[in-house]
Amino acid sequence: MSTLLAFQLRRVGRNRQFLFFTVLLPALFTVFFTEVFGAQAGTGSAYQEYATGSMVAMMAYGGMGAALGATIRISFDRASGWLRQLRVTPVPASSVVAVDVLVGVLLVLPGLVVVALVGRFVNGVQLALPTWVALVAVLWLGSGAFVALGLLIGHALEEKAAGAAIGVVGTVLAALGGLWVPVELFPGGLRVLAHVLPSYWYAELGRDVVALGAPAPGTVLAVAAFAVAAAVLTAAVVRRRPSPAVAGRAG
């Protein structure tokens, strides 16, 4: 399994677009938003508040994008016939699935860490060390919801639709979930919509950690519910798909 994991990580690592959208872009946004809007907030605690909030939102944006981008790609491997090819090698199907999940989980981390470092050392965000650690850890764990959502999209959609979904789903969830513009600035209807999106609750995990030191139970429950729902749906899609590339069984 470790051979397959290294192989898959190397493939995604070669994709410059992936690195750009999941590491570089969130990092640049963190600096940009804080420079433009944080400066207007003046100095002292108002700036700190803005800089911290913007950093947390961008960590969520990067984490979500990486989790989705790494897993929706499964659709390409189905389309190319590679998944089917793997099924006639001794690599067990369970390892293939486990590696898909692991790749998603592992690739979330670089973006989280880079944005946190940019927040700390470029924007001067001040948090206690345990809070930094908790922030990264909680957003890393929470990204599991998007790994599950990405697996669902990757298994449910055909290659072209999946390729489009990588960009579209991330962008829509980021915009409407309040990752670019805080939900407090949304008009009423959109604010209600934000509260049913996993992206809002995912960022809320981070905001909870900054404000309370740990995520609130309600926030954890919301993210966990999305994760479980996506995982259950994925299993259903995989089971129903007639194509043996994914779910074929011997009789």
């Binding site: 397959l4 190397r10 070669r14 491997d77 016939g81 099924r87 043996p244 074929g248």
Partner: protein, 305 residues
């Protein structure tokens, strides 16, 4: 424990929805045989290959070297080139080959092929450093062959293995297959290239409508079907019912009689005092044999069977 049987398929049935793709097919292969699966598109060749690999749900029983399909694949006993198999993007050929080689290694198949040997036999010299996305169709197919051979498996299942290869690639491919067969590998290949089946296979299995309609050496399949053809030019006349004739076809003035007894047919024609301009007598090709087994004669004007 060594087994003499490479593949035992009994009463194999595969359904896609309401369509029966393979219906009650039996097939027994001894180890070391080189077997061609012939038949038109939709005959069920690929479905048989996929069922033997455990890729499609089926009923009946399939034993691959005495194991279930899934167990045989897990144990690395089977190598396969699939019709819809493929290579992963954003990877290099060498990485893919190494990944698959190691998986066979871990399954307990000693690395039957040192990498250099595998590269030469699959004909992928100089490709290991290439990105998969930069391969031509023929190169891609040879890399897929390398993956099928990676574990040195005792049974090879090849579904249209040479469809994207040029003539030279094809020749090299079959040279490798003959070498493997000499080493005792059982090779099963589905193909449209009848001349390949004729030249390479010890045994030809013709599949039509999801069933085996002929099974034997290429010579037996040819002899057991359409026999030979007698062709000549004639503006009119009826030729049904002549001795030996099994089918009559006409295109313009050209008359083609398929006969099981050339001599009797010719005697009857000549006895009738008929002139036979442009007379031509031929043995049936394997292609004609397969066509006659798997389809009705085109525009029949005489007796058909």
């Amino acid at each position: 424990m060594p087994t003499r049987s490479a593949l035992e398929v009994r009463d194999l049935t595969v359904r896609y929805g309401d369509t029966v793709a393979v219906g009650g097919l039996d097939l027994h292969l001894r180890t070391g045989e080189t077997v061609a699966l012939l038949g038109p598109n939709g005959a069920g060749k690929s479905t048989v290959v996929n069922a033997v690999l455990g890729l499609v749900p089926s009923t009946g029983s399939v034993l691959v070297l005495g194991r279930t399909p899934a167990a045989a694949v897990r144990a690395g006993c089977v190598g396969a080139m699939l019709q819809h198999g493929g290579l992963p993007g954003e990877a290099r050929v060498g990485e893919v080959v190494e990944l698959v080689r190691r998986s066979f290694g871990r399954a307990g198949r000693a690395m039957a092929w040192p990498l250099d040997d595998l590269v030469v036999n699959a004909g992928i010299e100089g490709l290991l450093g290439r990105p998969v996305d930069a391969l031509s169709g023929g190169q891609r197919q040879r890399v897929l062959l390398a993956l099928a051979l990676a574990g040195g498996p005792p049974l090879l299942l090849l579904d249209e293995p040479t469809s994207a290869m040029d003539v030279e690639g094809r020749r090299a491919f079959w040279t490798t297959m003959r070498r493997l067969a000499d080493r005792g590998t059982t090779v099963v290949f589905a193909t449209h290239h009848l001349e390949e089946a004729d030249a390479v296979a010890d045994r030809v299995v013709v599949v039509a409508g999801g069933q085996v309609v002929a099974d034997g050496t290429a010579a037996q399949v040819k002899a057991g079907t359409s026999g030979r053809t007698v062709t000549f030019t004639a503006a009119g006349g009826a030729f049904d019912g002549l001795p030996g004739v099994t089918a009559t076809e006409r295109s313009g003035d050209r008359v083609v009689l398929t006969t099981g007894d050339v001599e009797a047919t010719l005697r009857a024609l000549l006895a009738a005092g008929r002139r036979l301009p442009d007379l031509d007598v031929r043995g049936a090709s394997l292609e004609e044999a397969v066509l006659s087994l798997t389809s009705r004669p085109r525009t029949p004007i005489g007796a058909d069977r």
